[in-house]
């Protein structure tokens, strides 16, 4: 198998994190046990020795062409959109490879590529401003497109229904299958010759490091599909691989998962596949919004929850500030919700009231508490809430809980 893709610095501000990865390097490392694996990438003079060291440590042979400047991504949190360093980087020499199977990621760098294989998976890796699938330089008997929901919406902007959008993009691509990575709702699979999409659910984990989860999905999918699995089964391997990565951050997918074992059979912190409902879950965002910092966090969480596949009832956005009259309207929203994400820093009385109300109604509650002092969490944890100091984990757990994932009263990292 060949993996073609980027090698980029990845930096996160909160929690502090720095690694040399990028989709290509990460996927190659994750697939290190695949026989005759080869990684094709572009590096600059400064990055080359670090990349060579990393690839030597993980035992993956590589071919590196020269690019003219480094490329890096900086995220404020793992769920924030990144800023990109080196967006005009380019390489002259082609990324060239041929094998039975290939995983090709879209790259930041501009430059030629010539990849030939029997089965090829292409992941565009361009969540913003994707207008066309750039399949230039790719030759294969069968292609699967693996893209995230935002990319598919960009490619089919006039179609609101995700299934119709998937078939529209599939029809114009020449691929045999298209897999839509749908964050906390798993993925959708559209296949040539079929009229309906099939869904594979996520494997919820007790901690979530989402950066790179899509790369792990594509890696698992490619290996399973290359070995003959049908696209739906390959997507289950992809989903299991993504969960493994999210829970462990280990750049090495166990061979058992690539061969079809579910991550929940291997990791005690992973649940079996979650059968998600057809309708989007409604998450109630309980939070104070009096200061700029609080308001900023509410806006961020609302955007991310929606990106993860939830509808959100946010008292700030859906009712607005006001006097005593807002209480009844807030609670009407809570009445309709299927889960609650509570932003607990500062222990705002209104937020705590909403959490108690939700508990009495039997709604699952996930709390985010980043500041010091967890004395106030006793009642919440004691009544089944999960409290996290990690924002990414709290957001994913809230969406999963709203779709039926059982919670275990606990506090993690607080």
């Amino acid at each position: 198998m060949i993996v073609v893709g980027g090698t980029y610095d990845e930096r996160v501000i909160v929690p502090p994190h720095l690694e040399l990865a990028g989709s290509g390097l990460r996927a190659a490392a994750l697939l290190r046990d695949v026989p005759a694996l080869r990684f094709i990438t572009a590096v600059d003079e400064r990055t080359r020795p670090v990349a060579e060291s990393v690839l030597s440590t993980v035992g993956v042979p590589s071919t590196m062409v020269e690019r003219d400047e480094p490329v890096g991504f900086t995220y404020f949190t793992p769920v924030s959109p990144p800023s990109v360093d080196g967006p005009s980087s380019s390489h002259r020499e082609p990324l060239q490879a041929e094998d039975e199977s290939a995983l090709v990621f879209g790259m930041v760098e501009k430059g030629p590529r010539q990849v030939r294989s029997k089965r090829l998976v292409f992941d565009p890796q361009r969540p913003r401003d994707l207008r066309v699938l750039e399949l230039d330089g790719l030759e294969a008997e069968s292609i699967t497109i693996v893209a995230n929901a935002r990319e598919i919406r960009s490619l089919a902007p006039s179609t609101r229904d995700p299934a119709s959008a998937a078939f529209e993009v599939l029809g114009g691509s020449g691929a045999v299958a298209l897999v839509v990575k749908d964050s906390a709702r798993g993925c959708l699979i559209a296949q040539k010759g079929k009229e309906t999409v099939e869904r594979v659910g996520p494997y919820p984990t007790r901690s979530v490091w989402p950066l790179g989860s899509g790369d792990a999905f594509a890696a698992g999918y490619t290996q399973a599909w290359a070995k003959g699995a049908e696209p739906v089964e390959a997507a289950r391997v992809g989903s299991s691989s993504a969960a493994w990565w999210c829970a462990t951050q280990r750049m090495h997918i166990p061979p058992a998962i690539l061969e079809g074992a579910r991550v929940s059979d291997i990791l005690t912190t992973a649940s079996p596949e979650l059968r998600v409902p057809d309708d989007l879950p409604l998450v109630y965002l309980a939070a104070p919004f009096f200061t700029l910092a609080e308001r900023w966090l509410v806006e961020t969480c609302r955007d991310v929850l929606r990106g993860l596949g939830a509808d959100v009832f946010s008292p700030l956005h859906d009712v607005g500030p006001g006097g005593d009259e807002v209480a009844a309207r807030d609670l009407e929203g809570l009445e309709r919700a299927s889960g609650v994400l509570a932003l607990l820093d500062g222990w705002d009385p209104g937020t705590v009231y909403e959490v108690g109300w939700a508990h009495r109604k039997g709604l699952p509650v996930v709390g985010f508490l980043h500041g010091p002092g967890d004395e106030g969490t006793k009642m919440l944890v004691g009544s089944g809430a999960e409290i996290y100091a990690d924002l990414s984990t709290a957001l994913y757990r809230a969406v999963w809980a709203a779709q039926g994932e059982p919670l275990v009263g606990s506090r993690t990292g607080t």
């Binding site: 610095d9 929690p15 502090p16 994190h17 720095l18 690694e19 040399l20 020795p49 670090v50 060579e52 060291s53 990393v54 690839l55 030597s56 440590t57 993980v58 462990t248 951050q249 280990r250 750049m251």
Partner: protein, 83 residues
Amino acid sequence: MNTVLEAPVPEVADELQVGDELDLQLREGESVQVVVVDSLGRDAGAILAIGRLLECLREGFRFIAKVTSVDGGAIRVEVRPSA
């Protein structure tokens, strides 16, 4: 920096406990690897290079990797400059 120990050497890594402090050393061969060594001088595994770590180690700066968790086969370490 927090990272996971790569290629743990079983007989050494199995003895590691949270709080143990390990040395980082450059191992030069066909390519350079950052090896993690225990207090007895035994290889415990390696970490993946980042940023300017290779340059700093070459220039003689010392770093330690402190074990922060041992979970099944996964050993997490926090890498920081040696005091």
